[in-house]
Subunit: 408 residues, 4 copies
């Protein structure tokens, strides 16, 4: 028994077991520990009060599923070396390490760098610290490792990331529609021609998984009240950035203010190695705390936005199958300008429109494959009696319009 | 149907229903909304990653159980007027409104005022805002309302507060030892001679409840790693207060710094009404965010403490049935002073000892009473075959010693 | 409190409460108690060992959901009188009272009378015993009661029967694909123009319900191994009937042998009132016990069939999207005749083919209706972004072929 | 992958995996399949309608826990050979193979042979059929295998039998008091000096396990209504035996009547090898079916008893801490004789008294041992702060008195 063997209670699966020193060391690293302070679902807890779970717990959960998947595949005769097993487990453990505060929500505002780029930057940094022990993990993550199915376990339409987040988000929100038979799906995994496939008997579970994911999109991930909250949050940050650009002074957590004042891009991270450290020091707490201090700011717009967010006085939001026409939006903008005694262009901080879209499934080369007893492999869209191509291809698009509640 | 009827998803019970305007309005109030930002179990999420649930969700959960309890009692013929029903529901809804950041942990450091005093202050303030609609709730909460059993539903050995937190904390930590038959206990509630009692058939469930509570104490509430974390947190705040007292300037969230610089007591709240507002503006986020900014402070002690907390590099902790003698503690203090090149008195920021105690049950006048079919009432200690007086009276006391991990 | 108030533990919902004397009396009646001895899912326990739950528990579970539904509707302002509430609860409680042993499976063999006819006969008999107290229940059940939505709660595409059996069968089989948000659906029920509808917010839950039901069909209700078992069982009874017709003597439970010897139809029940009592005396136990005694019979066919069933040595079964052609079936029949040294016509006891079909949803006048905040009502097929008409209309048909395992 | 690898859905643990040919073959054997027809908890379903689960599912469940326990121990460095692993799994799989209908209840009436003796007889018979492949299993079961801890996994105060039945019975009855952290306990298992021990961190879980077991005894296993039902059942069988001894003819399942007419003992099984086969052909169904046929018998006593059982018209039952004195019992016997116009000695078929006892824990040499990090081992009674010796030693004894309900 390794000295660092650890069992962690997890309400979703019961237990998470860490039984490899390098896993333990990576989890203990400050870059990983910071994910305890980042919510998996951003502002979703404003609608589903239970959804305060952290990205940290998701990353451990995905690791846990990966351990089981490796066991299942080995039991079915798929050869996976110890180095590959370690690599694929590190790859899933770190797949979200680049996420910043409020995960997907603030990404576009804090900097121009996508979280996947940041993930790569963090992985490289950690690999250096750990003397190259992450080489295989990085190759698997970047899909440059020769055995393709290992990458698919980390990133594909049936990867351990999705399996965990559906189960976990369903558990913490209390939305039963997302309950899937995680254990059954993992038991049905197999490999054929270096491709991750599902055994014939697992078809129903995969059908359920695809449908549950689709329902979770509309019921949780694209919930209109969460959108209203995200808008308020983004508008607040946008105003902060504008004030800083105008040379105004804002209170708040220094590293956050740095990113709001600088429009960093990927090259900056390469030129200033300390920038990654600075990014790593920001989490959900700093945003909420700084925004609270802005409620006292003399600028009417930022203090109004901040107060509304802190007190959960969200804007009205409407959702429709049709795009909102310019006239409607303009009308709301005018009324808002009037309501708050601000300019029409500043009214953009309170009136927003946009598109919601849910691709539950894609037909590119990574379509989920079913392995029949005969040895034959077919895509799920051909295998399923329930989910034919038109159903799977269907993309539901909706449009939202967000405006002050005072306007009826 | 009232306009404000609301159904909220809750992972523990499925649904929470708000069906009374005044309940809806109180929940929407900023004083209540701030509890979304306060964790029910403080730093417990450092050990049980799922335990990020908010006090907000507990307060709604307790309200939900109260609604059921009122229904059960009315069905058994206990007369409860609509005003009493509203009062007892408001009382449970607000029973924790006075909690500050990290709930119990920071209480002793931020000010000298106990959270129950703050709860009363918040209730009075809200009552004024809502034009006296909380009169009955406050009377029930303070036990000045003539019908005693209503207070017992809010605060007693079998109140809706305990029933909810045991179920909820067990759910989010994933510790099965805390699972209790909440629904069954509530179904077994009754009233006899204005006293809340349990029907004879519910004895086993109450036994399970008392035992589960005891086990949760040792497995969760007094978990030694959580204690280590609390110590680090309290020492950090103590150092911040010391630095501020010495006139040093600290970064951080202004209202927090105010409370760390002023030793407020109850009279201050009466003299400066705006102080309550200031207190209400502080939550968990401000503490984490401010502490992170202190990692860059030039003071060795505060930057060390803050860095250890942020990176979860906790001190070693030992727990024993016997108190640690002065010699042992002094030795650790000397070694710590040497390790960090600091004075022996400053070593107190890293070496702590204290007592843990668990009173699972008390024999004062609020002993849980069992109502027999014969109409007779007896205390649970006389009714239970399992839990006799010596078992129930038993108080387990343990002592902890906390010191830098580098010292073995 | 009524003298007969009763709380029954139920693993699916926690508790079932009986709080009305007439409900209590009906449940205590021997006609109702016999349902304890009839499995809800027939031979499904041969595939899913947990699925031994009784029809009795389903009937109580459906009653429990009905109680909640009545509460929800009344809270939304739908007026339901006490007599109607009692009637609709009695109607759901008794909706399956006519089921015989192994529920749907043996129905076609024991007699020519459909279980719904038997349900009516039992209801009338009970109504006589209880002095007309079931009048309203019977009217609701037969849809002759003026308020249509009450009948829909008992029998429609979203009735309490389906809601309970999906939840219950999913629970006891351990098939997560069937998990539905029962509580949420019930909370979303409403009535508009005397029609049972679902509030707009419940669309996702209904989508999930329809899809789960479809998946449960293929994964449980039409599971091919269960079909193989049903075939063996039906063939055994068919042989028993043939032997009795030939004047052979069979051991076994007398009332069962009576029904196997007489081809009873509905008129017989009217002519001989004691026949219903005789039918009521047969349950699952008698079939298994009698079949076991037939393992010792001198007739090769019945002893072979009985032995295979008792020892769970099931036939091979193949399932295909295309019907099996006569040539294939004839070939299996010939081989079977050869294998067992029996005539080709007797080979029919071992070789069977048939059709499996799953109508998850129908578009007749009882389509599930959605009530929008605007007051408008639309069918779910128009309301759902996921479940459009082609998807809902789709009927999956499969064909099975069953033959001795010795033939490969 | 073996050809016979099988995954079975189980509602308690999700999945049961059978991955060894010999396990598969033993489970497929008729001696094992018959356990599908025997309820784990006898007549408990008369009180807890969900408790219809079979001994078959318990035996598979215990196997499942054993597989996990072997994995955990091997991961901690305990060497277990493949032959030992197979042996200990077969031993737990077969530990209850000797149970007859209604498990413990009918044991004393059908024959004089204890079910453990029958288990040994079945094991020997199977071992012959499987060419000695059960040698190790039998040695482990009989505790003649040199490595003692393997026997303890099968039979001790913390064996896989108890762990499964507590979890399973709690699940199917819906009694939350029995919920234990099965997974955690298994994760905490270890071996020290050839003794099964629990790691220090598992103390709380073991405390919970012991307490839950105690509560399950009173709430389920010794539930007074179940006792009333058992009494009725045993009295019915006793009367059947008496009638058969008097030469009366009874209808019913032939092998059952054989055992009721013959007072078989262990030597009979050795003398007539076919007797075991005959015993194996009896299950729960035959008892219920035969008893139903006795409702029509001309003997007043047996027809009354049978009718009461079939219709669940149970006797009254009182439970007390003090034994019922002879005078009280005699009085009830007289009144019963009068009520039914039968002799006082025949009144014994309706009036019974007896003792209920619950030894939750014993202090013999198999006390549960705790392994400390220091390597030291101590008994749980010394290790636990909650469960000291007086608590553990405590045996609660109660007395019941059963009589016709008509006598009040």
């Amino acid at each position: 028994m390794t000295n660092k063997r650890k069992i962690i209670n997890d309400p979703v699966y019961g237990f998470l077991t860490i039984d490899d020193d390098i896993l333990y060391d990576v989890i203990s690293h400050p870059y990983f520990q910071r994910q305890r302070q980042i919510k998996q679902l951003g502002f979703t807890y404003m609608v589903y009060p239970g959804a305060t779970h952290s990205r940290f717990s998701h990353m451990l959960g995905a690791l846990n599923l990966m351990c089981r998947a490796v066991d299942v595949l080995r039991n079915k005769g798929v050869e996976i070396s110890d180095e590959e097993s370690r690599g694929v487990r590190l790859a899933i453990l770190l797949h979200d390490i680049g996420h910043g505060p409020f995960s997907h929500t603030s990404e576009r505002v804090l900097s121009k760098v996508h979280h996947e780029t940041l993930t790569s930057l963090f992985m490289e940094r950690l690999n250096k610290e750990f003397g190259g022990q992450l080489d295989t993990a990085i190759a698997i993550f970047n899909n440059t490792y020769p055995r393709h199915f290992l990458h698919q376990l980390v990133s594909s339409q049936l990867d351990m990331d999705r399996l965990d987040y559906l189960a976990r988000d369903s558990f913490f929100t209390g939305v039963h529609e997302g309950v899937i038979g995680t254990e059954r799906i993992i038991n049905m995994l197999n490999v054929s021609n270096d491709t991750l496939v599902i055994d014939e008997k697992g078809i129903y579970s995969v059908e359920k998984f695809i449908i549950s994911r689709r329902l979770m999109y509309w019921q949780v991930y694209l919930h209109k009240t969460v959108i209203a909250c995200d808008m308020l949050f983004l508008n607040t940050l946008k105003r902060a950035r504008a004030l800083l650009e105008q040379g105004e002074k804002l209170e708040g957590y220094a590293p956050l203010l740095y990113f709001l004042s600088h429009n960093t891009d990927e090259s900056d991270y390469h030129n200033k190695p300390e920038l990654l450290e600075l990014f790593a020091s920001i989490d959900d707490n700093d945003l909420i705390s700084s925004i609270k201090s802005w409620t006292q700011n003399s600028d009417f717009i930022i203090s109004t936005l901040a107060t509304q967010l802190v007190n959960r006085q969200l804007g009205a939001i409407r959702v429709s199958s049709d795009d909102y026409d310019k006239a409607t939006v303009d009308e709301y903008r005018s009324k808002t300008a009037e309501l708050y005694h601000i300019s029409e262009s500043d009214a953009d901080y309170f009136v927003n429109t946009g598109r919601l879209e849910n691709h539950a499934y894609s037909f590119d080369d990574s379509e989920i494959k079913v392995l029949y007893k005969s040895g034959e492999c077919k895509g799920i869209s051909e295998s399923s009696d329930q989910l034919d191509r038109p159903f799977l291809e269907k993309t539901v698009t909706k449009y939202y319009l967000n405006y002050p509640k005072a306007l009826k």
